[in-house]
C-alpha cells in the first residue's frame, strides 16, 4: 500500500467544461428543477444571468472526484464541505485541484478548489480522508 501524501502535496488538476447536456443530465438525475440550469430565456431575461449556471452541487461532485481519484485507493473519504464564491456559467472551464493541509496517523485533510482559467475561484472546499 502506498503512503498518503505529505502536507503541501498537490492533486493532479482535473479540467472540466460541462456542456448543456451535462447540466441537463445532472438536473434530471437529481430531480433538480431549478430553471437556471436548463431554461436559457428564463435565466437571462428573468434572472439577469449571462447564461445557464453550472450547479453548485455539480462543482461539489467535481471536487470530490478530484480528491477521490487522487487519494481514494489509500484512504476513504470521511467528510467533505464546500461553498460557492462566484458563479460559473455554461461554457466556463473549471480547473479542479487541491493540496494536503494536514497529515496524521488517521489520515489526511485536503483543501480543494475549482477555478476558471482567469483565476476566479468559483468553489472552495475541504475534505478529510481516513486511512484504509
Amino acid at each position: 500500500m502506498s503512503a498518503l501524501p505529505e502536507v503541501g502535496t498537490e492533486a493532479p488538476v482535473q479540467t472540466r467544461t460541462p456542456s448543456a447536456l451535462d447540466l441537463f443530465m445532472f438536473s434530471a438525475s437529481a430531480w433538480l428543477l431549478h430553471r437556471i440550469h436548463y431554461d436559457t430565456p428564463f435565466t437571462t431575461e428573468h434572472d439577469g444571468h449571462p447564461g445557464l449556471l453550472i450547479h453548485g452541487p455539480l462543482q461539489g461532485v467535481y471536487l470530490a472526484q478530484t480528491a477521490e481519484s487522487w487519494l481514494g485507493d489509500q484512504a476513504r473519504l470521511g467528510s467533505i464541505s464546500y461553498r460557492h464564491l462566484a458563479p460559473a456559467y455554461l461554457g466556463d472551464t473549471l480547473e479542479c485541484g487541491g493540496s494536503v493541509t494536514r497529515a496524521d496517523d488517521e489520515g489526511v485533510e485536503v483543501e480543494l478548489w475549482a477555478r476558471k482559467p482567469d483565476g476566479t475561484v468559483t468553489t472552495t472546499g475541504k475534505a478529510r480522508f481516513e486511512r484504509r
Binding site: 472540466r16 451535462d22 443530465m25 445532472f26 434530471a28 438525475s29 437529481a30 430531480w31 433538480l32 428543477l33 431549478h34 430553471r35 437556471i36 431554461d39 428564463f42 428573468h46 434572472d47 450547479h55 453548485g56 452541487p57 455539480l58 461539489g60 461532485v61 467535481y62 470530490a64 472526484q65 477521490e68 476513504r76 473519504l77 470521511g78 467528510s79 467533505i80 464541505s81 464546500y82 461553498r83 460557492h84
Partner: protein, 162 residues
C-alpha cells in the same frame, strides 16, 4: 431592520416529512453519467462485487439526489416560477435562491437495492446585510439512514436568498 418575519421565524426547528427512496442501479448510473464517472463499480454489478460491494455502488455524493427528490418530487402546481418547490422554505421577501455551504459526513456506502430514508430539519435561519441588500441564510440538516438503520450520511446545507 429584519426581513425575517415572526411567521418565517416560526419555521426554525421544523421537521419535514420523512422521505424514503428505493435506490436502483438505474438511479446510480444516471447520476454517475451526469457527473462524468467512468469507474465500472457505478455501472456493473460484477465489477462492484469484485471491489467488495454488495451491488453497484453509488458515488459518495449521491445522498444529494435523495434529498432533492425529498424536496422537489411534488406536483408541478406546487413549484415556484423558477422551478423550485414552494412548500420547502419559510415565507421570505425574496425567493431568489443560491447554494451556500454544504458539509457532508459519510457513513455506510449506498448500493443498488438500498432503501434510504432522509430526515430533514430546518436548523436555523439568519440574515446578513449584503452589498445589494439583505441576505437570508436558511440552514437545513439531513440525516440519511439505510434499511438496516445504519447511518449513510449527515449533511448540513445552507441556502441563501437575496
Amino acid at each position: 431592520m429584519g426581513v425575517i418575519t415572526d411567521e418565517a421565524r416560526s419555521w426554525a426547528n421544523r421537521e419535514y416529512p420523512r422521505f424514503e427512496m428505493i435506490v436502483t442501479a438505474t438511479d446510480i448510473a444516471k447520476f454517475a453519467h451526469a457527473t462524468g464517472e467512468n469507474n465500472p463499480i457505478h455501472f456493473d454489478r460484477e465489477a462492484a462485487i469484485a471491489a467488495g460491494y454488495a451491488d453497484v455502488v453509488a458515488p459518495t455524493l449521491f445522498p444529494y439526489v435523495i434529498r432533492m427528490h425529498a424536496s422537489a418530487l411534488v406536483a408541478p402546481d406546487q413549484l415556484e416560477t423558477d422551478g423550485s418547490p414552494s412548500s420547502d422554505v419559510p415565507p421570505l421577501p425574496t425567493r431568489r435562491a443560491m447554494a451556500g455551504e454544504t458539509s457532508v459526513e459519510f457513513g455506510e456506502r449506498i448500493v443498488a437495492g438500498d432503501v434510504i430514508a432522509v430526515e430533514k430539519r430546518l436548523a436555523q435561519m439568519y440574515e446578513k446585510e449584503g452589498r445589494s441588500g439583505p441576505l437570508v441564510f436558511v440552514e437545513m440538516d439531513f440525516t440519511f439512514t439505510n434499511q438496516r438503520g445504519e447511518l449513510v450520511a449527515l449533511e448540513n446545507f445552507t441556502r441563501i436568498y437575496r
